[in-house]
């Protein structure tokens, strides 16, 4: 296949449209999921099963006044929501949905996702800082320390997987896991390698992606019973909408990355008929788990969260990195 500029452009647009549609409809899924967990119907009014809720919400958000409070740093205030949404959209370009469906494969795909992923913490900091609101300020400071604390174990765990696969290419990482669920990186038996810490690694990665998306039980950035609405207290209209969509886009990214790194991407559990449907099934199962956790657990506190990261997750993931390196050297 020759990669013309137009081809790439179209593919990138489709990938972005996929995330945007997902981000919009995940709100619906979340509300239905919350309804299911709380024994109530959730949205029902707009369209069948409330399916028209996301476009209606979108219209409402877009037609509202974009209020800029006096005394804010206008440029940063306006840039922050865009920065919350856009990097996440871009990082979707390298996600391989199946053998053939990928917008633009890169041999440094993992690196690129992390580079763009870490920009969303920047957006929260900018949004909170420029708002000139005490709640937003506390929230943005929290969000940054949280992002720093959780990107380290996440990266270390990813390096472990990258070492096993021997490549930063997401396609390559999935290829290494093909041929049934016993080959997936989540299991200790991996290419003749007996690493019993891999399931723990998966858990660490999953917890970190929960924390990265600022969702309950780690939603300290917007902890609404403490900080009103956190970093987006002063945002209205689509400014708020972009922060909101960014959160859901982040969830999709987190689920995709977990699937690719640990659950064998588009590979079938039994080694038959690999295809994009397996990938979608896996990411939506993970997304449902995200929703399930959010509506079940109370919120933790910032010091418990940091303790968990610095005292538990980072040592374990570093130890696992060393163990994997040793095993790779020995076998």
């Amino acid at each position: 296949m020759t990669l013309t500029f137009l081809n790439v452009f179209a593919a990138v647009l489709i990938a972005i449209a996929f995330v945007a549609a997902n981000a919009a409809y995940l709100v619906w899924c979340e509300r239905k999921g919350a309804g299911f967990i709380q024994r109530r119907p959730g949205p029902t009014e707009n369209g069948p099963w409330g399916l028209l809720q996301p476009p209606v919400d979108g219209i409402k958000l877009m037609t509202k006044q974009l209020l800029i409070p006096g005394g804010v740093d206008k440029i940063i205030f306006m840039v922050a929501p865009v920065l919350a949404m856009f990097p996440t959209l871009i990082s979707f370009v390298t996600i391989p949905f199946s053998e053939t469906i990928v917008a633009h494969n890169m041999n440094i795909g993992v690196l690129m996702i992390f580079v763009f992923g870490s920009m969303s913490a920047m957006a929260l900091l900018m949004g909170g800082w420029s708002s000139r609101n005490k709640y937003a300020m506390i929230s943005s400071v929290r969000a940054v320390s949280q992002a720093v604390a959780y990107e380290i174990p996440m990266l270390v765990t990813t390096i472990t997987v990258v070492m096993i696969a021997g490549s930063l290419d997401l396609m390559e990482i999935v290829h290494k896991q093909s041929g049934g669920f016993w080959h997936w990186n989540i299991w200790p038996l991996q290419n003749g390698l007996y690493n019993i810490l891999m399931p723990v690694s998966f858990l660490i990665f999953f917890i970190c992606s929960l924390a990265e998306t600022n969702r309950a039980p780690f939603d300290l950035g917007e902890a609404e019973s403490e900080l009103v609405a956190g970093f987006h207290t002063e945002y209205s209209s689509m400014g708020f909408g972009l922060f909101f969509m960014g959160e859901y886009a982040n969830i999709v990214i987190g689920a995709c990355l977990t699937t690719i790194l640990f659950l064998g991407g588009w590979d079938c559990p039994l080694g038959l008929f690999p295809g994009v449907w397996w990938f979608l099934l896996k990411i939506y199962a993970l997304i449902f788990t995200f929703i399930w956790i959010r509506w079940t657990f109370p919120r933790t506190t910032i010091y418990n969260l940091l303790n968990l990261s610095w005292k538990v997750l980072i040592p374990i993931s570093l130890f696992n990195l060393l163990l994997t390196a040793g095993l790779l050297k020995v076998f």
């Binding site: 919350a34 967990i37 709380q38 024994r39 109530r40 005490k134 709640y135 506390i138 309950a216 039980p217 939603d219 300290l220 902890a223 609404e224 019973s225 403490e226 009103v228 509506w295 079940t296 657990f297 109370p298 919120r299 933790t300 506190t301 910032i302 010091y303 418990n304």
Partner: protein, 372 residues
């Protein structure tokens, strides 16, 4: 018990929590002087919903003042009405039929459960868990339906009359209540498994906001707040009123004094209230619910009368000074939230804001009752 962190800040800022803030559940305002996320000093500002209930009593007859009582604490309105009618009955020496007293105790205890359920849902929501609120409100709905059937209102009941009740309970109420007891026992077990034993909830509450016995006594804290600190005092048992001596129930006391202890006191109180309701239904005597001779105007003989009851939030005292007229000369309401809340200023120093708001939730504040 952890000693609070002593801060010596170089730079502070004032964080204005309330009067409109999701955690204050009403129009309470707390001016917090913060050192980063630590609270250096806090000052509660009250009075945003002051309605002069005490002064209103002086301009109304005793009967006309009845509906005011259920507007104090709209979550456990029954207990406040109970306190008032008991005070007036004691002063005017009005005989109450036994059946009426039993029904009063049953409805008050049901109202206590519904009040604790609201607290439970709202408190866990303060901690960031949304779903228990829906479950708690579903259970509370059963109580409201039952009470609506007999009293005619769902929230601000005016069910008790001097010497009796507005009307008698029917068989529907009795069977419905028995069903509710079964349902509630199951629900409480679920809450224990899902919420009380949740590890995140425990880390959020254990050793957070410890209150010493001394602090409770200095501020006059009562009810679950005091019982969570190890003060074994319940007006229903220690100054028994109504038909409470007839019932066999425990008073849950925890000695830790932290938010988790206060949480557990309320959760166990719900179980004890179920026991009281069950016994009340078993022992319910037949007979009238109103005295034979109709009471027309109530006039208290000159004097100073005080009665206390155990409301959802603690000891509710009512003092009536009468000069023999048809309205009181002075009526003083001693509401439990007022005392329970004021220890917040002192106890929250050195806490993180997240912990302080969890601590505030564990005090179970109802602002209209505090401001009166």
């Amino acid at each position: 018990m952890n000693e609070p962190v002593v801060l010596q800040p170089d730079e502070t800022f004032v964080l204005n929590v309330g009067p409109q803030h999701p955690a204050t559940h009403g129009v309470l305002r707390v001016k917090m002087t913060m050192d980063g996320e630590y609270i250096y000093d806090a000052e509660t500002v009250i009075g945003y919903i002051h309605r002069m209930h005490e002064k209103m009593a002086e301009n109304r007859t005793y009967t006309q003042y009845l509906p005011n009582l259920s507007r104090l604490d709209y979550l456990s309105a029954m207990a406040y009405c109970h306190g008032y009618v008991l005070a007036v009955e004691k002063a005017a020496a009005i005989e109450v039929p036994e059946r009426a007293e039993y029904i009063r105790a049953i409805t008050v205890e049901m109202n206590r459960i519904s009040s604790h359920l609201v607290w439970f849902g709202a408190f866990v929501m303060d901690l960031g868990g949304f779903s228990p609120l829906m479950y708690a409100f579903d259970d509370r709905e059963q109580i409201l339906d039952l009470l609506e059937g007999v009293t005619g209102s769902r929230l601000t009941y005016c069910y008790f009359r001097f010497g009796g009740l507005y009307n008698d309970i029917d068989d529907d109420f009795i069977t419905g209540t028995r069903q509710f007891i079964k349902r509630m026992r199951k629900a409480l077990k679920m809450y224990r498994n899902l919420v009380t034993n949740n590890i995140i909830l425990m880390t959020r509450l254990k050793e957070i906001g410890p209150i010493s016995v001394d602090l409770c006594q200095r501020y006059g804290a009562t009810g679950p707040v005091a019982r969570g600190s190890g003060i074994n005092y319940d007006v229903r048992r220690n100054e028994a009123y109504s038909v409470y001596p007839e019932f066999d129930f425990d008073v849950p006391v925890f000695t830790e004094g932290d938010s988790y202890a206060r949480y557990n006191v309320r959760m166990e109180e719900m179980e004890q209230s179920l026991r009281i309701i069950e016994q009340g239904l078993d022992k319910l005597p037949d007979g009238p619910v109103n005295p034979e001779k109709k009471i027309k105007t109530v006039k208290l003989p000159p004097g100073d009368y005080y009665t206390a009851v155990e409301a959802g939030r603690g000891s509710f005292g009512i003092r009536i000074v009468s000069d023999g007229d048809k309205s009181p000369y002075r009526l003083k309401l001693r509401s439990p939230t007022y005392s329970n809340m004021h220890l917040f200023d002192e106890a929250c120093r050195g806490m993180l804001i997240a912990d302080a708001l969890a601590f505030m939730g564990s005090l179970d504040l109802v602002i209209p009752e505090m401001d009166r």
